[in-house]
Amino acid sequence: MTQMNTADVIIIGAGVAGLSTAMQLAGRGAKVIVLERDRVGNGSTGRAAGLLGQLRGKAEQTRMLVDGLAIVKELEKLADVEIFVQTGSLRIAETPERAEEISALVEMGKSIGFDIDHMSIDDVARHLPYMRTDDLVDACYCPTDGHLQPAELAAAYLKVGKQRGVRCETNTPVTGIIVEAGQVRGVRTAAAEYFAPVVMNAGGPWSYLNAELAETVLPTAAIGHYYLTTRPDPANPVDRLSPAVRDRELRIYTRPESGGLIVGIYDAEPDRYDMGKLPADFDMSRMKAARDSLQVAQLIEATHHRFPWINERTPMTITTGIMTFTPDARPFCGEMPNIQGLFHCSGFSGHGIVQSPVIGLIMSQLILDGHSTYDVSSIEADRYFDMPGYIDRRDIEDRCAAMAGNYYGKVERPTVAAGGQAAK
């Protein structure tokens, strides 16, 4: 093969995960080739609503996302773009259990210096005049949260990456992973072979198929997700700087978009997809919800409860896409124990956009240094490796779908676990 097709790291997939890692790696001088089956950011990234909420149930995860937002702001300077819109965000509680959850989150957040506090229901009503608040018992507010357009984030990663020498080839599906004596050598496409000692699988929903190319198992599943976007309605104006809202009891989240409102739902019984059965030229941006989709009906019903002016007659578009879930809703980031040089970077459920800045940094550290400045024990790629119940596709899918179905529903018990030092 030609010299041109050799690199230090080959990344499969030009979504936010692949592109963020490519940018970080190139920033440290690595030669990186990104191979993308379709167009840049046309997987889950192209479907995402773009909410950037930093608050997580665990302190070290929250810290990571706080650092991630700092990386986004740095990126804005490097790429000379303005993409992050700071709106603040709310979590609301309608039951005593949810109120407890919020109190614990506020305590956890404060303990690590994250800007968060309770907000009175009257203040919530003032912030969001278009939202029903009479059934709320508590709320908390994170002023530094916000949102961005995922396409713009992907473009910014790529722009800076290219300045640093990243090569990105689109319309180039990886069809084989070359492994010799337990060590990765490169990848194969229809037209060529590419060589590198490290291959990173950032294939989003397709990641488990990519793992199969190397005859290994990655326990992720492709799970459907829906959100609606209302058209601007002069009778119910939505300020473009209105805070995002997360209502876990109703399983919905929302943010302003184009003068209307985005409302997304974590379904109790989400759609499942068999990525291997989709046509080779499957284009996620062409996915469409049926007019009598049960999921959409549930989404509209939950939305109507919280925003009574929205119902099935409200002019809206429905976006549906595919997320990548894992059995515990935490991603897989790191090297596989059985194949040297094969790294996974996948399984970001509904939070791959917000996680991508810091994940890119972490992956670059794991690949170049063999360890990270962050505590990555909860996201290691091999945490289910060879475990019974995590090998068969059906089992994996059931576990991931169950996790997805429980995702917003279950009440969190925030922990202020030790460890997890922030970088710097």
């Binding site: 167009r39 192209g46 357009q149």
Partner: protein
């Protein structure tokens, strides 16, 4: 074959599209050793008939009942003439007028109709037509069974006919009022001659993206280019969000879905949500200063350049044409 071409006019002059349709009819007539004539319907249409006669013989039905071209009366008139004159093929340019009237006339004549044809072929088995389907993704070659055959013709597929050396004759046809009665009552026509067309209606859409720095630049570059091209102005979400372009101009997933003949993207990166609104456009032109912008992947023609330099040049060249 005896071919009848329905002349579309505004009471004063023929519409250009009808002249392209006449070319189609002349080609068929020539290949089948047949004849072509116009059918002019109207209330005071002698002027139009005279203009049409420069190109082909005219059959003229004049009646006060045809002052407004209502589908039921026009279809009845067409069917009546077709039967009495043993017409084999009826054609009209594919316009909102003929899309309304022609199928109704076809139904009165047995229902053999092909829509929006872009090509024809005279074979031993008869006429074959190419008709685009699936929003243009597929072209079907079809044959009509039964007579007369009725076709609407996409005018861009045929050049305009040229006038003959001497005018042809005009034959007035008398038709009973009862035949021409319409149960539809015309109330009004709201034309929007002077304002820019709506993005979803226009043949040409010129859209601006974040490259445009303020409303004045948007109007001066995007709006102006739209005007000289005779099209609509559109925008990406970025400009709507920044308050530079009004909401109703937004093209994309949460904005308008458009499929014009020409879509010009000025300083738009080509995010999937934007592409969702315009990817079915016939021809896409992108002007962007970033040679790697994803919009270039979907564009038929891309020009790498600064919109602030390129667009004024385009406007100037187009104005001096």
């Amino acid at each position: 074959m005896k071919v009848l071409v329905i002349a579309e006019h505004d009471g004063k002059s023929l519409r250009a599209a009808s002249l392209s349709c006449l070319t189609f009819a002349q080609q068929v007539a020539q290949a089948t050793e047949g004849t072509v004539s116009w059918l002019v319907l109207g209330s005071q249409a002698t002027g139009v008939a005279a203009e049409a006669a420069k190109f082909a013989p005219v059959l003229l039905v004049e009646s006060s009942r045809l002052a407004r071209p209502m589908a039921d009366s026009c279809a009845a008139a067409i069917a009546n003439v077709a039967k009495n004159h043993n017409v084999n093929l009826i054609a009209a340019a594919s316009t909102s007028f003929s899309k309304d009237v022609l199928p109704r006339a076809a139904a009165l004549l047995g229902g053999a109709m092909a829509s929006d044809i872009v090509r024809h072929e005279v074979t031993a088995e008869g006429l074959l037509f190419d008709s685009p389907q699936y929003a243009g993704a597929v072209t079907a070659t079809v044959q009509l069974l039964g007579s007369p055959q009725v076709v609407s013709v996409r005018s861009s597929a045929y050049p305009a006919a040229t006038p003959a050396a001497a005018p042809f004759g005009i034959e007035a046809i008398a038709m009973e009022d009862a035949t021409l009665a319409s149960r539809c009552e015309f109330v009004e026509l709201k034309t929007k001659q002077n304002s820019r067309p709506d993005v979803t209606e226009a043949r040409i859409v010129v859209s601006g993206g974040r490259a445009l720095r303020n409303s004045a630049d948007f109007e001066g570059l995007v709006g102006k280019l739209a005007d000289v091209m005779g099209g609509a102005a559109g925008s990406s979400r970025a400009l709507v969000d920044a308050g530079i372009a009004p909401n109703e101009l937004q093209v994309g997933q949460t904005g308008k879905i458009v499929a014009p003949e020409l879509y010009v993207a000025l300083g738009i990166s080509g995010a999937v949500q934007h592409l969702a609104g315009m990817k079915n456009s016939r021809t896409i032109v992108a002007i962007n200063s970033d040679p790697d912008a994803p919009i270039f992947d979907v564009a038929d023609l891309g020009l790498v350049g600064d919109v602030y330099e390129v667009v004024p040049q385009l406007i100037e060249r187009l104005q001096s044409r």
